[in-house]
C-alpha cells in the first residue's frame, strides 16, 4: 500500500515538473520527489528490513532531499537571473507529451521481462516514466539548472527501478552510485556558476558556438 502511494506521488511530481514555470518551485518538487523515494526501499522491503535498507534510505533522503536542493539554490542565487523556466516546448504541450510518455511506460513496463518480487506492479512503469520525463526535461528546457533537474529525475527513475527489481545490489556499489550522483550535481553546479560568469546568463541555447 505504502509503496503504491509513493509511486503515484512520483508520477504526479513528474507531471508537476513538466508544467512548472518557476525554477525555484521545480527544485522543491525534485527535492520532494527525492525524499519520498528515500522511503521506498524501507517500505518495499518492510518484511526483511535491515540496516542496509535503513542506511540507504537515510543517505538518499539526506542527499536528494537536502544537499542537492541546497547546491542548486546556491547556483541559482549566484546566477541572479529571472526565475522563469523558459521552455522550448510549452507547458500544455509538455503535459501532453508527459501523458503520452506515461502511456508508453505502462505498455513497455508490461512487456519488460523482469520480476518485481511482489513489490508493486506500478513500479516498473513509474520508473520508466521518470526516465522519459527526465530526458524530456533535459532536451525541452533552456536553463542549465533545469537540465540538471532533468538529470536528477532520470537518475531517480533508475533508482526506483533498482530498488524494486534488484534488491540484492551490494552496499558498496550503492554507495559508489550515490557518491557519483553527488559529485555529478556538484560538478554541474560549479559549471552553471562558471557559465553564468562567462556568459551573464545560464541559457544553454546560447551555448552554440561549437558546431559541425
Amino acid at each position: 500500500m505504502g509503496t503504491n502511494l509513493i509511486l503515484v506521488l512520483v508520477v504526479l511530481t513528474n507531471l508537476k515538473l513538466l508544467a512548472s514555470s518557476r525554477l525555484g518551485a521545480s527544485i522543491r518538487v525534485v527535492a520532494a520527489q527525492g525524499m519520498v523515494l528515500g522511503l521506498l526501499p524501507v517500505l518495499a522491503h518492510v518484511h526483511e528490513l535491515s540496516l542496509h535498507f535503513a542506511a540507504m534510505a537515510l543517505g538518499t533522503i539526506a542527499l536528494k532531499g537536502v544537499v542537492f536542493p541546497w547546491l542548486l539554490f546556491r547556483a541559482l542565487r549566484e546566477a541572479e537571473v529571472t526565475r522563469e523556466v523558459e521552455p522550448y516546448v510549452g507547458y500544455i504541450s509538455s503535459i501532453l507529451v508527459g501523458l503520452m510518455a506515461l502511456a508508453a511506460s505502462f505498455w513497455l513496463g508490461g512487456r519488460l521481462p523482469v520480476t518485481t518480487t511482489g513489490v508493486s506492479s506500478l513500479l516498473v512503469p513509474s520508473a520508466l516514466f521518470s526516465i522519459l520525463a527526465g530526458l524530456f526535461l533535459i532536451v525541452a528546457r533552456k536553463r542549465a539548472v533545469n537540465q540538471v533537474l532533468g538529470f536528477l529525475v532520470l537518475e531517480n527513475g533508475i533508482y526506483t527501478f533498482g530498488v524494486g527489481v534488484v534488491a540484492e545490489t551490494p552496499f558498496l556499489v550503492e554507495l559508489g552510485v550515490l557518491l557519483d550522483a553527488f559529485v555529478a550535481v556538484f560538478v554541474m553546479g560549479i559549471a552553471v556558476y562558471h557559465i553564468n560568469r562567462e556568459f551573464d546568463h545560464i541559457e544553454t541555447d546560447r551555448l552554440d558556438r561549437l558546431k559541425g
Binding site: I138, F151, F161, V165, E168, V187, L207, D208, L210, G212
Partner: protein, 505 residues
C-alpha cells in the same frame, strides 16, 4: 599475495599523487611529481599485466578486483598512453608557463585531476564487479570534465557542459543496463555480494534470462557507446576534443574512449552465451560500428579545425574497432590490435596538433600550413600520424584494418565490407586533402621556425617507429597476448573464462 597487493596499489598510487598535487607550491614541482606518480603506476601496471599474460588471471579483495588477459592488455595500452601523455604534458605546460598562460591554481587543478583520472581508469580495468566498473567510468567523466576548461573560455565551458551532461545521461543508461543484467540472474539463487561479479555472470551466462539480457545490452551499448563516441551519440566528442588542452585531448582520444568500449566488450561474451550464441549482440555492434565510420567520414570532408578533424577520426576508428568485435573471429583479434595502433597514432597526432597550435596560435587548418618548414619535427609527427590514421601501408593501422576486412570476407558480410571500404575511402581522400597543405602549404610569414628538444623528438619518433615496426612484424609475445585477450571475448559457451592465457588462434 604479492600480486594482490599490486592491484590495490594501481589505484592508490595515482589517487595519492593526485591528492599530493593539490598541496604543492610550484608549477614545476607539480609537473615533476605528476610524472613521477604516473611513472611508478606504469612500472607497477606493466609488471602485473605481464604476469597476467604469462601465467593467468590474478584476483584480490574477495574477487572484487580481477585482472585477466583482456583487462591486462587494455591496462597495458592505457599506461603506455598515459606515460607518453604525461611526458608530453610537462613539455606542453612548461611552454605555457614560459608564456605566462598557466597559474599555480590551474596547474594544481590539472595535476590532481590528471592523476585522479588515471586512478579512475585503472579502477575500471581492475574491477571484477560490474557495478564498480560503472562507478569508475562515471568518475572519469566527472574528473575529466574540468580538464577541458583548464583555461576558462566561453567555448571551453560550452564543450564541458555538453560533455558532462551528455556523458552523464549516457552513463546513467549504462547503469540501467547493469541493473537489468542483475535482474536477469533472478531465480539462480546467487548471493548478493557475487551477483554483479563478472566471473560469476560469465560462469552462469547460459542460465541468465535472455529477454532481460537483450534489454540490458541495448541500454549498455547506448550508455557506454555515448562515452565511447559511437555515432549517433558522438555529439559531445568533437567539442570536447577541440577545446581541451592538447594533452587532455590526447588522453580522451587515445584512451578514454577505449575504456568505455572495453566495458561493452566485457559484456559481449555474457550476452552471446546468454542469448544462445545467435550473434544477436554482435550484429548490433556491427551496425553501430558501420554507422560511426560513415558519419565520421561525412564530417571529415568539411572540417577546418585540426583538432575537430582528429576528433572525427576518433569516431571513425572507434567505429572500426566496434565493427571488428562485431564480426568476431579474426575480427576480434584485429579490433584489439587496432586499439593499440589507434591509441598510439592518435596521441601522437594530438601531441603534434597541440605544439603546432602553440606555435601558430591557431588550430584553423587554413592558417596552419607548411608545418614541415616551420617545425620539422612536429610537422613530420603530424603528417606521419595523419597518414597512419587514414590507413596508409606499411603502418600498423593498415594491417589491422586489412585483418578486419579479411574477417568480413571470411564471414561473408559483404554489406559490412562495402560500407567499411566506402567510409575508409572517403576518409582517405578527405583527410589527405587536409594533410598535404598542412605539411607543405604556404606558411604565414609571422611564424618563426622552432627547434624541438630531445624529449619532444623522442615523443614523435617513438610512436612512429613503433607503428612502422608493428606494421611489418608482429612480435610473438604480442600475438600471444592479443589471442588470449580476444579469447576472453570470443569464447562464448559455458566454459569458464578463468583458463590461462596463451591459447592458439
Amino acid at each position: 599475495m604479492k600480486h594482490e597487493a599490486l592491484l590495490w596499489l594501481l589505484i592508490l598510487v595515482p589517487a595519492a599523487t593526485g591528492a599530493l598535487a593539490l598541496r604543492l607550491r610550484s608549477v614545476r614541482t607539480i609537473l615533476n611529481v605528476m610524472c613521477a606518480g604516473v611513472g611508478i603506476t606504469v612500472a607497477l601496471g606493466w609488471y602485473v599485466a605481464g604476469k597476467v599474460l604469462v601465467s593467468g588471471p590474478v584476483s584480490a579483495g574477495a574477487e572484487w578486483l580481477y585482472l585477466d588477459a583482456l583487462s591486462a592488455y587494455n591496462l597495458g595500452i592505457l599506461l603506455l598512453i598515459f606515460g607518453l601523455s604525461s611526458a608530453y604534458a610537462s613539455v606542453y605546460f612548461r611552454a605555457e608557463l614560459r608564456e605566462g598562460h598557466l597559474t599555480l591554481k590551474q596547474a594544481r587543478l590539472f595535476g590532481s585531476l590528471w592523476c585522479g583520472a588515471l586512478a579512475a581508469m585503472t579502477l575500471v580495468f581492475v574491477s571484477n564487479n560490474l557495478g564498480i566498473m560503472w562507478v569508475g567510468i562515471e568518475a572519469t567523466t566527472l574528473l575529466t570534465g574540468f580538464l577541458i576548461c583548464v583555461h576558462v573560455t566561453g567555448e571551453s565551458l560550452e564543450a564541458m557542459w555538453k560533455y558532462i551532461l551528455i556523458c552523464s545521461v549516457g552513463v546513467a543508461f549504462a547503469f540501467m543496463g547493469t541493473l537489468l543484467v542483475c535482474a536477469s540472474t533472478h531465480g539462480l539463487g546467487l548471493r548478493a555480494p557475487e551477483v554483479l561479479l563478472w566471473t560469476t555472470l560469465r560462469a552462469h551466462a547460459a542460465l541468465l534470462n535472455p529477454g532481460c539480457l537483450k534489454a540490458a545490452f541495448i541500454f549498455l551499448l547506448v550508455g557506454y557507446g555515448t562515452k565511447a563516441g559511437l555515432a549517433p551519440m558522438h555529439n559531445w566528442l568533437p567539442d570536447a576534443h577541440s577545446q581541451a588542452p592538447a594533452p587532455v585531448s590526447a588522453l580522451f582520444s587515445g584512451f578514454m574512449l577505449n575504456t568505455a568500449l572495453y566495458c561493452v566488450m566485457r559484456y559481449v561474451p555474457i550476452v552471446e552465451a546468454g542469448t544462445g550464441n545467435t550473434g544477436w549482440g554482435l550484429r548490433l555492434l556491427t551496425g553501430f560500428g558501420l554507422l560511426s565510420i560513415l558519419v565520421a567520414a561525412a564530417f571529415i570532408l568539411f572540417q577546418h579545425d585540426l583538432k575537430r578533424l582528429l576528433a572525427y577520426h576518433s569516431v571513425e576508428h572507434i567505429g572500426i574497432i566496434t565493427l571488428g568485435v562485431g564480426l568476431g573471429g579474426l575480427g576480434t583479434f584485429a579490433a584489439l590490435f587496432h586499439t593499440l595502433n589507434h591509441s598510439l597514432c592518435k596521441t601522437l597526432a594530438f601531441f603534434a596538433a597541440g605544439r603546432l597550435g602553440q606555435m601558430f596560435g591557431t588550430h584553423d587548418m587554413r592558417k596552419l600550413a607548411g608545418t614541415m618548414r616551420a617545425a620539422p619535427v612536429w610537422g613530420m609527427g603530424l603528417f606521419g600520424s595523419l597518414l597512419a590514421l587514414i590507413g596508409v601501408a606499411p603502418f600498423a593501422l593498415f594491417m589491422s584494418e586489412l585483418q578486419i576486412l579479411k574477417a568480413a570476407m571470411d564471414k561473408g558480410a559483404i554489406l559490412a565490407l562495402v560500407f567499411f571500404l566506402l567510409g575508409a575511402g572517403v576518409v582517405f581522400v578527405g583527410a589527405l586533402g587536409h594533410a598535404i597543405p598542412l605539411a607543405w602549404g604556404k606558411t604565414a610569414s609571422a611564424v618563426r621556425p622552432t627547434r624541438a628538444g630531445t624529449l619532444e623528438t623522442l615523443l614523435v619518433v617513438l610512436p612512429l617507429v613503433l607503428l612502422l615496426v608493428l606494421g611489418m612484424w608482429m612480435p610473438g609475445p604480442l600475438q600471444t597476448a592479443l589471442n588470449a585477450a580476444a579469447d576472453v571475448i570470443r569464447h562464448a559457451g559455458p566454459a569458464l573464462a578463468g583458463s590461462p592465457g596463451g591459447v592458439m588462434p
